[in-house]
Every structure is written in C-alpha cells, then in structure tokens.
Amino acid sequence: MSEPGHRRGLSVETKERLIAIGSPVALLVVWQVMSWLRLLDARFIPSPLTIFEGAVVLIRSGELWTHLSVSLLRLAGGFVLGSIPGIAIGLLMGLSRYVRAALDPLVAATYPVPKIAVLPLIMLYFGLGEASKIVIIAIAVVYLVIINTMVGVLTIDPIYFDVAKSYNAPWGKLFTRVIIPGALPLIFAGLRLSLGVSLIVIVSAEFVAAKAGIGYLIWSSWETLVIENMFVGIIVITVLGVVTTFLLKELERVLIPWRRERA
C-alpha cells in the first residue's frame, strides 16, 4: 500500500478532501449571512448558530445521544438482518437460473412497494417495539442487496468460469476465488445504496411509530414547533449518512483492494 507512486496521488486526494469539507462550510456561511440579513424567515428556518445552540442543549441533556443510539441500534440490526440473507439469496439467484426464474418475478413485483407502506402490517406482527423497526429496515436492505449481488454474479466474465473449469477447480475454490471476488464490487454497491435507503426508512418509521430515535426527534420537534431541534435531527441524519458511507468505503478498500486501481 505504500508504493512511492502513491504520494503524488495524495495531493489530489487532499485537494478533493479540502473541497469536500469546504463546500458544506461555505453553505453554512451563506446560510448564516442570509439569516443575519433576514432573507430567511427565522421562525421556520433558524440560523446555523441558533441550531448549534439547540444542539448544545440537546447534547448536554443527553437527549441527542439517547435518540442517536436508539436509531443506530435499529439501523445496525436491520442492516445485518437484511444484508446477510440478501447476499445469500442474491448469490443463489445469480448462480442458478431456476432459482432466478422462481424468485425474480417476486422480487420485481414487491421491490417497488414503498417499504413504509407495509409498516402497519409489520407492526401487527412484530409489535410496537424495536422488532418492527429493525424488520422494516431489513426489508428495505434485502432487495437492493439481492438485486446487486445477483447482477454482480451474472456480470462475472465467463472466461473466469472457463479457466476454473479447465483446471478442474473444486466448487469451493470456484466460489471463494471467482464468484465472491467477482461479485464483491456490486455487493458493496448494493450495501451502500441500501445504507442510504435504510436511513430514509428509519426516519420515516420513527416519524409515525416510535417514542425515541432521530426521526422521532425531528417529527416531535416539528409538532411542537421547536424548530431548532428539528434541524439538529436533520443534520444528525446527514452526518450519519456521511459517516456510515465513509466507513463502508473504507471496508471496501480493505476487502476489494484491486478495485482502487480502476478508479
């Protein structure tokens, strides 16, 4: 990983990172200035500084951490519960045309159903507690992972299979040396997409059926017109999206090192 050639690339990366940090900061500055100039209605869109003050109060009281930890646990539970069967089913569908023929229509038919629309049903079976939120995230995750994993397997160049066959590679080797590495880039793409979707789903689920969590914080703050706290919730979700995507990307770097060369 520490080839000398890498040094030169880093400066571009650093520049990119600076721009990536700079653009949100610039947005905040513009927002604050617009608030000072009263171009924004402070009753509905408080200034970043006011939101920051609200965040400090929520952090000090421990309230923010309570909501954040509840949402994180639900996200983690749902993500694991959705991605593991998602990868398994996706691999099966990619490898067997009969499994694909059986499941593809079902997946295609149920995938477009907005996941939040089935929340009442899920609550009927899994109750009002944590289980129903974890299950709804798992459902949101499983589809994207299935579809991406399946496509990942299907797009592996047939020549790899031919080579493995001509060397009489046993099935276990074929799986670990050809199928998994071949499908991994798309599996990760599926995981990253589903991470974004699960953030959307958890917030909407917490809007309607929770008594804690970031979605609950956003909605209850809006209902009681404590608008600073609503913005704190929204910003926390954005940060959560950025951080989790970053972590997944890092994991991807470790697991699929050859992918960087292509980028």
Binding site: A42, R43, F44, L128, A210, L225
Partner: protein, 339 residues
Amino acid sequence: MSALIVVGLALLAVVGPGLGVAAAQEMVKVGDLGIVGDGPIYIGVEKGYFKDRGIAVKLEKFPSAATAMAPLSTGEIHVVGGGISPALFNGVARGMPIKIVAARARDIDANSVDVLMIRADLKDDVRRIGDLKGRRIAVNAAGSPLTYMVARMLESDGLTLKDVELVSMPWPDMGTAFANKAIDAGAIVDPFTAQFEDRKVATLLRRASDVVRNPWFEVSVLLYNAEWAKKSPKVAGDFAVAYLRAARELHDAMYGGKNRAEIVDILTRNTRVKDKALYDRMHWGHIDPNGVVGRESIKEQQEWWVRQGTVTRRVDVDDLVDESFVRYAVEQLGPHRGR
C-alpha cells in the same frame, strides 16, 4: 391592435366588478379537520351565514390541527380550529402571528369528548387510575392536549407519566393495537370511543371531565392569523359573527334543541362521522355559545408543558387571547343563555 386591447381592458375594469356576487365577497381560507369541532364552520357555510356577512369561505383540508399551524402562521390559511398544545405556545413564542379568538371544544360534565379507555380484557384488573401503573398508554401525539389529560388523570390517583409507558399512534390504529394487546390504555376522542366499544376492543375508564375540573379542560379554540385580522378587521369581525351564529346552533343541537336533526345532517355531510346513529351515542364537546375562551385552563396547560420542558418560553396568555372579535359578534347577535 394594442388600442383594442386597451379598450377591452378598460371595459373589463368598468364591467368586471358587477359581473357576479362572488367578486364582492371577501375570501377567507379556513383549515378543515373534518371533525365535529369544526361544526360551526360547516353550519355557517351550508346555511349561508358567512355569505350573509360578505364572506366566501374556502375550506382547506388538514389531517390534524398540528399540521395546520405552519400554514396558519404564514397566512396560507386565515382561520383554523386548533388544540391547546405546546406547538401553539412555542409557535407564538417564536413570533408566529397567531391569536386565540374564540372558544371551540371544552370538556364539561356530561359533554366530554376526550376519554381514557382501557383494553376490554383488562376491565377487572384496571378499575381505577392507580391500576395503570407500569402499563402502556397510547396518545395520538406526544405534544397532544390529550397527553396533558392523561397526566392529569394519573396525578389524580398518585401516579405521574413516569409510572407508565407512553406511546404515540393515530387514533384509528389504536383499535388494532387494543385488539393485538399492544397497548393497555389509550387517550381517545369520540367517535372512536363509541366505535371501539362496538368492536368490544376497549372500554371507557374515565372522561376528561371526571378529573379535569375547575377550570374545565379547554381542548381547542378558534385561531386567527393575527396579521390577517389586523389588516382586515372588518372581515375578521364579520367572520366571528357568522361563526358564533353557527356555533350557537351547534350548541343548541348538542343539548337536544329542535334543530338537532338538521345539524346532524350537516355534520354527517361534512365530518368523518358518517353514521347518524353515532351522534346520539357520542359526546360532541361543549361549545361556548358566547365564544368566551377558558383562559384559566389555557394558563394551567401552559404551566404544565413548561414543567415538562416541552414549552421553553412562556407566552402571556392574556395577550395571546383576543376576544374583541367575539365581543363584537355578541354585540351583533345579542347574548345567548346557554350552559
């Protein structure tokens, strides 16, 4: 060509205002929640009381009063019936131009729409409020006036909200939640009370008026956008006259007046309660026929929300309430000897 247009426009300017009655009427946009509390609006529209005062009412549907608060404060709607909620106090404290102008729904003896129901199979286990300790109680929203009611009920038997588990869900969902044993009790309003009793999923434990008395529970009030009322005081005053005229008919009908059948007809057409028979079994919620606002109850509720930390800045309730419009209406209509 352009001369033709000029002549045409001039003609239109001269003839235009006389083209129809509607042009002479002032448009007032009113939030419509589809509940009995909005009765005076429906009655006033159907019987032409607003029209008599030169007002054309445009109804804008909202799923709940809470969602109407922001449009009210931006002037997208001018009038809406709203609950006494933390959103009202917090909104006014942030500078939203909202005034309480008249009474709407109040829980009084024998006319109390807000109730606490318990799951049907708990009838023998939960005989008094104190038996709710450790149980799960549903309210329609955390910042709902009914949360205050539940707290007052719990306090009446030595409990607080900390002794129970409070969950939020819309009223229709509570029926399913009772059936699944997902909740033990729920803060509910008519007509759901009657519906849940019919389905045998829940049974009445207490009505708000059993516990919240002196002053009675002021649940909801009529709200004006203050900027609109200031800019068009004549329209705002005329609106109050028509509103109160219709409110008196609602009042008389709910206490068995001769107009009851007619009013039930109007309510069935406009509210979500479509079953006429239900009106005889459910409470309607008292409406003050002179529009007088229960300030003391509002002050008490604000203090309670402040103690919960949900309201951070107190507002001056006497400043928030502006009864000048209903006073004008009473002058026009004469006082009413209601309850």
